[in-house]
């Protein structure tokens, strides 16, 4: 399709000069991560499973990366961490792996209304195989009430899956409290932590989930690489059957270059977490406090207290997100939108509807995700551009005044 359409964007247009406020789509890799991967490429490592010296060396760098990632989540036993091809594989592996392994005990799954599609569709897939699911609703801030999870549990429940940080509105869920319930009931608890691992401090012991899925890109590692923390002894089947890689939990020759990048990014994230956090918090505070000086009639979605520091979701009334996004890009600012029009499916975001947004308001939602390289000027410049665009689009809108 893309090839069929004459491109609007001229090839000469320098995309690098745009201000990127859409880090949730992809985070650029910092030089240290790039260098680690480039070095790995030039090295032409052996196969970690091989019995020769080249294999030994490869196994060593693989285990080194595993250690770096384990450290990032304060996991004391490196064997509890396996590498995958990303957040999606991790979530699929966790959910389907636990569901299949525990089918004899029951086929009921409890989840929440605001999960990522990799969780939702994994669970939906299982319902095609005879599993049942209960999805608990969230409050207006997008928070799951642990009591609702408790109420949803039955004797047949074999899995609870509640995400850590939401990718559309940034709300952080009370994982520790949910873990207390699941532990008591001895039900495996999966949390999709793709947006929090490497972004905020995580301690798998304290968090309490039995299995945590995450990805490397949210903390500035490469895309297409992820990880799973699997608490020792958890009853789970692999997704990928075959060789004995990853301690028999995930077969297939390793994407060593990606894994090395993930490890390097984990190391960097550990070192820089506080600094990055502070910077992003400041940018978010600035944006939210300045916003009323630029536009009116909008909603800031999510929970002001429990929220990702790098995500701001704003629903601008009377206009539609894709239009805002296109005009912003034209003005030099990249954001993303949760408007239905922008997605293939034309459905309104389930997350926005779950927090009680009206359909029209959901349509006007843009998601701003600043990154570590953004400056205060970027935020102010963005606000200025937004102001103009909102005025223009509202003029066209039949909903405005």
């Amino acid at each position: 399709m893309r090839n069929l359409i004459k491109r609007y964007r001229s090839k000469t247009q320098n995309i690098m000069k745009k201000i990127n406020l859409d880090h949730i789509s992809v985070n650029p890799m910092p030089p240290k991560v790039q260098d680690a991967m480039i070095k790995a490429i030039k090295q032409n490592y052996g196969n970690p499973s091989s019995l020769n010296a080249g294999g030994e060396q490869a196994a060593e760098v693989l285990e080194n990366a595993r250690g770096q990632v384990a450290k990032l989540i304060n996991c004391k036993n490196n064997k509890e961490v396996i590498f995958t091809s990303g957040g999606t594989e991790s979530a699929n592996h966790a959910i389907k792996g636990i569901a299949f392994a525990n089918a004899e005990k029951g086929k009921h799954i409890v989840t929440s209304n605001i999960e990522h599609s990799s969780v939702i569709r994994s669970i939906k897939r299982l319902t095609q195989l005879g599993y049942k699911a209960t999805s608990v609703s969230v409050d207006k801030k997008g928070r799951v009430n642990p009591k609702d999870i408790k109420k949803a549990l039955t004797d047949e429940t074999i899995l609870v899956s509640v995400m850590h940080g939401n990718n559309e509105i940034g709300t952080i869920q009370p994982i520790e409290e949910i873990a207390r319930i699941t532990k008591e009931k001895k039900i495996p608890f999966h949390s999709d932590a793709a947006n929090t691992v490497g972004v905020i401090p995580i301690d798998v012991q304290k968090l309490g989930a039995d299995i945590l899925s995450f990805a490397s890109n949210p903390y500035y590692g490469p895309t297409g690489v992820g990880g799973l923390y699997i608490r020792r002894g958890l009853n789970i089947w692999p997704m990928l059957d075959g060789g004995i890689q990853e301690k028999n939990k995930r077969a297939g020759t390793e994407n060593l270059i990606g894994i090395i990048g993930m490890g390097a990014a984990a190391k960097l994230a550990m070192e820089k977490m506080d600094k990055r956090s502070e910077h992003l918090k400041n940018l978010k505070k600035l944006l939210i406090s300045e916003l009323p000086s630029y536009i009116d009639e909008y909603i800031i979605n999510g929970d002001p207290e429990n929220s990702l520091q790098n995500l701001i979701s704003v629903s601008v009334k009377y206009i539609e997100g894709e239009s805002i996004l296109l005009m912003l890009e034209d003005a030099g600012y990249i954001v993303s939108t949760r408007s239905a029009c922008a997605t293939g499916s034309l459905r309104a975001s389930h997350v926005l509807l779950s927090i009680g947004l009206k359909h029209e308001d959901a349509q006007g939602t843009i998601v701003i995700t600043p990154g570590i390289e953004n400056k205060k000027e970027d935020i102010i410049g963005f606000l200025k551009a937004l102001k103009k665009i909102v005025t223009t689009l509202r003029e066209i809108s039949p909903l405005y005044k």
């Binding site: 893309r2 359409i5 029009c341 293939g344 459905r347 309104a348 359909h359």
Partner: protein
Amino acid sequence: MLYSKTVMDHFKNPRNVGIIENADGIGEVGNPLCGDMMTIYLKIEDQKIKEIKFQTFGCGSAIAVSSILTELAIHKTIEAAKKITNKDVAKALEGLPKNKLHCSNLGADALQLAIKDYEAKKSGKTKPEPRRETEAHIPMHKKEGQKQCYCPYCDAKLSKKTTFCKACQSELDQEH
């Protein structure tokens, strides 16, 4: 999704934006699912479209569709304007991405509704109901003559009656 130069031109500099007070015909369409809303206002003189304006709440494509539609329709006779189809709109825009084709139906539908409204008013009938469900959303696999249906999302073979693709888990009741 990528738009043609023409789409972007009409999106960024939309023609004929606004309301016509005491319009001769008004057409309003909307799709409750994706949330598009479009209103077309007509001023008719001598069976010709003298003036046409629009208001649109929707994506870039919906705005561009509205804009080019007004350009296609203006100065046309009612009879000629009635023949404007979604295909004409999409063609005038130099193509639309597949998943945005239905936005062109929206425009054509709004125009036809506005004309009907004009004709109804003229003959003293009541104004037609605003349509909330457009033809865009008649499943494509109901197309005549098509022997085998494939899922528009993942290319799996589909039976004609299904509204759910078991392979990629997509709902098929809309826009495919």
